[in-house]
């Protein structure tokens, strides 16, 4: 083959940050007990409702942050196909 496929390899610290950014909305929203209250209200919205809508915006930002990190940091490395044929 002419040239190998290259992928971006992130530093362990960066990878951890990406993981946190992606995990944050999952943890926050799937931990339902943390936001099932009516107060405080915001513009008439009970807490339960505005908190989740706020997370829409927060999750867009965290995902954008993760996108930036996985596309702009790290070094390009070749992906080694080895002789894995049957083993993996």
């Amino acid at each position: 083959m002419a040239r190998k496929v290259r992928r971006r390899k992130l530093a362990p610290g960066t990878l951890a940050v990406v993981g946190l950014l992606l995990a944050a909305p999952l943890v926050a929203l799937l931990w339902v007990g943390s936001y099932t209250s009516a107060k405080p209200r915001l513009w008439g919205f009970p807490f339960f409702y505005w908190y989740q809508l706020l997370w829409v915006i927060v999750s867009a930002l965290t995902t954008a942050g993760a996108y930036f990190l996985v596309t702009h940091t790290g070094t390009m490395v070749e992906v080694d196909d080895g002789d894995e044929e049957e083993t993996r």
Binding site: L29, V56, Y67, D80, E86
Partner: protein
């Protein structure tokens, strides 16, 4: 029309609104067909045409089309209806669902994009076939995709039916006239798909999306304004939904697990559906999915506000008495529009809902039909079928899929249409281990995956069958049930079944590996999962590289 007057849905024909609906529908459809004709491909048309874009969609168009996929009758009719009828647990989970889904696809979708583009995979079943070297596992994935799509299409038909009923088409009386709006919806969908193929829906999707966004923006600003603000709306909802234990304004302790599993299960299921995989795979390069994952939440915000239309209807005391004289929560959004908007704008709003249900229904049924042709018909019945023969099979199957959808509506309880989508989710989620875990590892044994799938499908279906709808006494009346071995905890059946699926798959894998049962040959290599546009052997268009599998003519 006075805004706060009680108005029974479907009691009289709203001539202006009906005219606007018909005219807009004809214009939009006409434009779509004309454009499809004008831009006819010279080469043999194939699956690539829309979904699999020989064209390679960029960031913005993908955002637009994927968003259009999200805005179906699910968002517009079913979620607000659930909010109106039973409150947060059965409705508002759609918000965390559409937030959680994006980090998930951010993680695994680029790998699916890469391996699919390297091997010419067009469906999840294609990938499973190549990765696990198992025709039976691939068949299981394909069959699940087709069956799970049916109730999702049924949901769209219910949406169209709701609009027609509120406009005043169909009336009380015999069985036939009672279901007339449904039959009209079905006939329009069938004719539309049969004659157009995927090209027209793709083009119409743009017009449809613009129409929908206009209506949404007007609805979520104008209606709260007429109802004296959100504070008043939430107070009215609180008073109604806190009155009985069956409804909830904010989930109580017993509803926490249900709420969370409904959100997570729906999120994990969404991108297993054939039509959504198709949409993602049609992007130009590997990064577009991820960029979209950051941009798509804009839609979730709108979805949340749309869900609140259900609460607005509570505050506005909207009547949802159907043509048959019985209350039907599915009518709540069109009824609210009829009550709040002048006729001409109500007509525009109805068109948005109807076309917004029709286009995804067409795309879903075509995706399911093509899945059948590609992974079942050609794989098991006729390996040498001509493109013309495959096109004929696809057309027939797309009709069968729609008939299946119709059967769901006629035999199941349609007063909570959201449940159709949840039922589809129970099934489609069981393909997750083979597809998503398969993207990372071949450790799970192919037969163990198949057994896990089978156990989860059977248990999930039985569990869903046993849920009796409180209102009508019909089976398949809900999608939440007690978790076995856990007292008094209820969860989304799809997630409980998924847990069983994974446990069975892991245990059997250990056994099968100990017995050294062959796990087949992997057609993919590590670099396949990272390949991007421009890399060797990455085709510009899907379904075309040297696999010898020219895709069939779409329906």
């Amino acid at each position: 029309m006075s805004p706060l007057s009680m108005q029974a849905a479907g009691r009289s024909v709203d001539g202006v609104a009906l005219s606007v609906l018909i005219i807009l529908f004809l214009v939009v459809t006409g434009v779509g067909f004309a454009a499809a004709r004008w831009h006819r491909p010279t080469a043999l048309a194939s699956l690539d045409e829309w979904g699999l874009g020989g064209r390679g969609f960029g960031t913005f168009i993908t955002w637009f089309l994927l968003g259009g996929d999200l805005y179906t009758a699910y968002t517009f009719v079913a979620v607000p209806a659930a909010m109106f009828a039973t409150g947060a647990v059965s409705g508002f989970f759609a918000v965390p669902y559409t937030i959680v889904v994006y980090p998930l696809i951010f993680i695994f979708m680029p790998r699916l994009w890469s391996v699919s583009h390297r091997h010419g995979y067009v469906t999840p079943a294609d990938f499973v076939r190549g990765r696990f070297d198992s025709r039976s596992l691939s068949l299981a994935v394909a069959v699940t995709g087709i069956i799970a799509t049916m109730p999702y299409i049924a949901l769209q038909l219910v949406g169209i039916q709701a609009v027609l009923e509120v406009v005043g088409v169909g009336g009380s009386g015999s069985t036939f006239t009672k279901d007339l709006p449904l039959f009209i919806a079905f006939a329009v969908l069938a004719a539309y798909t049969y004659s157009s193929g995927l090209r027209a829906p793709a083009l119409i999707a743009f017009v449809k999306d613009i129409l929908i966004y206009v209506v949404i923006i007007v609805a979520v600003i104008y209606i709260p304004y007429k109802l004296h603000g959100f504070g008043h709306i939430f107070n009215a909802a609180h008073d109604k939904l806190s009155a009985t234990p069956a409804t909830s304004f904010i989930p109580g302790p017993s509803g926490l697990v249900s709420y969370g599993t409904l959100a997570l299960g729906s999120a994990m299921a969404l991108f297993m559906y054939p039509h959504s995989v198709t949409a993602v795979l049609s992007t130009k390069n590997r990064s577009i999915v991820r960029r979209n994952a950051a941009m798509l939440p804009a839609y979730s915000l709108m979805l949340g506000l749309l869900a609140l239309l259900g609460f607005m209807a509570i505050a506005a005391k909207t009547s949802v008495i159907g043509a048959d004289g019985k209350p039907n929560a599915q009518l709540v959004v069109p009824s609210l529009f009829r009550q709040m908007f002048p006729s001409w704008f109500a007509g525009i709003a109805y068109s948005a809902v109807a076309i917004g249900a029709l286009v995804p229904a067409a795309i879903m049924s075509i995706a399911a039909a093509n899945l059948f042709t590609r992974n079942i018909y050609r794989e098991f019945f006729d390996r040498t079928a001509s493109p013309a023969r495959e096109a004929a099979v696809s057309k027939l199957v797309s009709l069968v899929v729609k008939l299946g959808a119709l059967a769901f509506i006629l035999f199941l309880d349609k007063t909570l249409a959201l449940n159709f989508q949840l039922l589809g989710g129970i099934w489609i989620l069981q393909t997750f281990p083979a597809i998503v875990f398969g993207l990372y590892t071949r450790w799970l044994h192919r037969y163990a995956l198949l057994a896990g799938w089978a156990v989860a499908m059977v248990w999930g279906t039985i569990a869903a069958y046993r849920v009796i709808a409180p209102a009508t006494g019909k089976h398949f009346g809900g999608s939440v049930t007690k978790i076995p071995f856990f007292d008094n905890r209820t969860a989304y059946i799809a997630m409980t079944a998924f847990a069983m699926n994974v446990i069975v798959a892991v245990v059997l894998t250990v056994i099968l590996r100990a017995l050294k049962v062959s796990n087949g040959r992997d057609a993919t290599r590590p670099s396949d999962y990272y390949a991007d546009a421009g890399d060797p052997r990455v085709a510009d268009a899907l379904g075309q590289p040297g696999t010898g599998q020219a895709a069939p003519e779409p329906v």
